[in-house]
């Protein structure tokens, strides 16, 4: 079995994995980081988005062995001693979730988006979240939350 060494949420990790293990399965089942969700098997929903070396990636469409040596950030990395990340706080404030299933991926995708574009327009947000599906909210409040979160992150 291949052995991989990587950093997950700042912690060094060395683990054995089967070659076919997807990154999302490794995170959820081997490391018990169940904040990252699986919403589809067609690489379309974005519930599984994490950051790999700073880039938003669908962790259901990457093998754990491909992440050998990488730095991974998951939704669990964001809150600090119970204080929400400004983007999480904005999702809370703007009521940008209902069932919450899409939220971890939405928040991780939004943070990556805002890092590249600190003051996104409504259109920029809709384009930037093209790879994240929400079955509940109708997106309206998510778009508002991302713009508010961007402002929180600038301040």
């Amino acid at each position: 079995m291949p052995t991989i060494s990587l950093t997950v949420n700042g912690q060094p990790v060395t683990e054995e994995v089967d070659a076919p293990t997807l990154l999302v399965k490794f995170l959820r089942e081997q490391l018990k980081l169940t904040g990252t969700h699986v919403g589809c098997d067609t690489s379309q929903c974005g519930a599984c988005v994490v950051h790999v070396n700073g880039e938003a990636v669908k962790s259901c469409t990457m093998l754990a062995v491909q992440a050998d040596g990488a730095e991974i950030l998951t939704i669990e990395s964001l809150a600090n001693n119970g204080t929400l990340h400004p983007m999480q706080q904005a999702f809370h404030d703007k009521h940008a979730l209902q069932c919450g299933f899409c939220t971890p991926g939405m928040v991780m995708a939004s943070i990556a988006l805002v890092r590249d574009n600190p003051d996104p327009s409504e259109d920029d947000v809709r384009q930037g979240l093209e790879g994240n599906l929400c079955r509940c909210t109708g997106y309206q409040n998510i778009v508002q939350a991302v713009r508010a979160g961007a402002k929180n992150m600038r301040d």
Partner: protein, 265 residues
């Protein structure tokens, strides 16, 4: 997903040698097509040869007349490259419209063209720009590369090193995306060089094709009006739940005009 052996070569020759030694090997690039296909058990390679650590496959380099882009360059890197943006904006635009940001962060030029999905975007650029595919063993003209639906001129184990794109005087890409996947229901790239105009269509047929009537009309007069009355035959175009052949034929005319207009601006 079925089990397989995973390899991570550091050089092109090591990758090609590994392929030869495997029963049923397959190269892995960004995995944005291959991994979903393996998850569905539609592919079950005995070995995956991951190209991600081969640095020479990720270069973007330019000369006076061409830009050469390594096979493992991601869509995001092509969209963000200042070299590509300033000298071949049509290609940067095309790359920035593929799928979604997460797919663009992983998916690669080489993986996309090796796969030759009928609705992929890059084939339009390869053919419209008269690009050359550089492999581990030879150079393949863009016009001869895409041979059928999901089929290319690549031999067993042949590895795409890079693609060389000649720089046109003008070019633009116009696409009508599938609203769910963003793949092209139809996409048209138009280019104008000193001696030739090319019009390449993706998404509409089984694989990318050129439209000689439009090319001739645009060579005489490079304007949307020049192709106003030209309609391609619907006969051989794709039919699926998203669009009928007649609708795709109509889209091709509209998109070609939009691309010419954008190329002129």
């Amino acid at each position: 997903m079925y089990d397989f052996r995973y390899h991570r070569p550091a050089t092109i020759s090591e990758a090609v040698d590994l392929f030869r030694q495997c029963d049923d090997g397959q190269y892995l690039a960004g995995g944005q097509t291959l991994i979903p296909v393996m998850k569905q058990r539609l592919a079950s390679p005995s070995d995956l040869i991951d190209l991600a650590r081969i640095d020479e496959l990720k270069d973007i380099s330019a000369t006076e007349s061409a830009i050469t882009i390594g096979g493992m360059t991601t869509h995001a890197a092509i969209a963000a490259s200042s070299e590509v943006r300033s000298r071949l904006a049509a290609l940067a635009d095309l790359a920035s419209g593929i799928g979604d940001p997460h797919v663009r962060n992983r998916g690669t030029l080489g993986g996309s063209i090796a796969n030759n999905d009928p609705t992929a975007d890059y084939p339009a650029a390869i053919v419209a720009l008269g690009a050359t595919i550089i492999t581990d063993r030879r150079r393949i003209e863009g016009d001869a590369f895409f041979t059928n639906i999901f089929e290319t001129a690549l031999e067993e184990g042949e590895l795409i090193r890079a693609v060389e794109f000649p720089i046109p005087e003008r070019a633009a890409y116009a696409k009508f995306p599938n609203p769910a996947s963003r793949y092209a229901i139809a996409g048209v790239m138009v280019s104008k060089f000193a001696d030739i105009v090319r019009v390449a269509v993706t998404g509409a047929g089984p694989f990318v094709f050129r439209v000689p009537d439009m090319e001739a009309a645009l060579a005489r007069d490079f304007s949307p009006e020049a192709i106003e009355k030209l309609q391609i035959p619907a006969g051989d175009l794709n039919a699926d739940l998203h669009a009928s052949p007649a609708y795709r034929a109509h889209l091709v005319s509209i998109l070609a005009k939009r691309a010419v207009q954008a190329a002129k601006e």
